[in-house]
């Protein structure tokens, strides 16, 4: 499991499926406000695509390098979420009251849309990084140290 997969079928299918899964995650993230979905689901779909990438191609491949880089983003999602709340505070309202998100040139619905979207992006980033981090800890805790976090 912890070596690179050498089957050409698996590799080709993964090359096809990983971008599709990531595109679908973005769709769920950006259209989750007006339909089913949202930041949580989008983050998990993104995580599964990343896990597929490093299980099939290994951590040394370009895809695996990307996974390692993603690990450095632990906590950025929370900062985005809390930052949106802080911006609402600066705008003169309560914490996370998107009506007071003071962004010039936006009317009230667009302001709320932007606030919720930013918060969802924060949730998605947090969930994605956490999922990848847990899987990496489980998968590579007994081999030689391949990660540097």
């Amino acid at each position: 499991m912890k070596q690179i997969h050498d089957s050409i079928i698996v590799q080709t299918m993964s090359r096809l499926l990983i971008p599709l899964a990531q595109l679908f995650a973005l769709y769920v993230l950006f259209f989750g406000q007006y339909g089913p979905g949202g930041g949580f689901v989008a983050g998990v779909i993104w995580t599964t695509s990343m896990i597929l990438a490093f299980l099939v191609f290994g951590l040394k491949s370009p895809q695996g390098r990307l996974v390692e880089k993603v690990l450095h983003g632990d906590g950025i999602g929370l900062i985005i979420f809390v930052g949106v709340g802080g911006l609402c505070l600066i705008g003169g309202g309560e914490f996370l009251n998107y009506a007071n998100l003071e962004i010039p040139g936006l009317d009230a619905p667009a302001r709320r849309y932007t606030g919720i979207l930013l918060a969802q992006i924060g949730v998605a980033v947090d969930v994605a990084v956490t999922g990848i981090s847990i899987v990496l800890s489980l998968a590579y805790h007994d081999t030689e140290q391949e990660y540097d976090v």
Partner: protein
Amino acid sequence: MMYSVNIALLLLLVLTAASATFLVKELMSSVFILGSYSFFLSLVWAWLGAVDVAFVEAVIGAGLATVLFLITLFDTAPKDSRLRRPPPPLAGVLGLPLLGILLLLAANDLPQFGDPTSPPNVHISPMYLQNSFADTLTPNVVTSVLMDYRAFDTLIETVVIFTAGIACALLLREPGS
């Protein structure tokens, strides 16, 4: 017709769960059966109208949890070592069906599914359904409840996930390097 399909779905759910725990001895097969169980459960959620929950169940239960189980299995024995299980005690064999009958009797008093006068449907749901667009200007009620009315709840859930990731890294990763 509608009800027969639903009952078949629920029976399938129970059967997959039972086979994952009792019939299959190999842990690897057990994990995959649990994944299919999550898929059936997400169908049940979709039937109940909870599309968001069905989405999460399919992605987390069938996708991420299966991967986590599999990766854990690679570090443990692939077979259940307790192949000769002792027979279940008599009290359990007699008592559990009785308990089930008791629960079925109690379920008669639950409100009918979709009943507009049941307590959950008259307590706070009408307030959300009637006022959410005027309050939050978001057409999707689920989003407005999750991210606007209860944004603090979502924020703390995100903190919980973050803490779980940190704790896993602290416990599982070896120090050094």
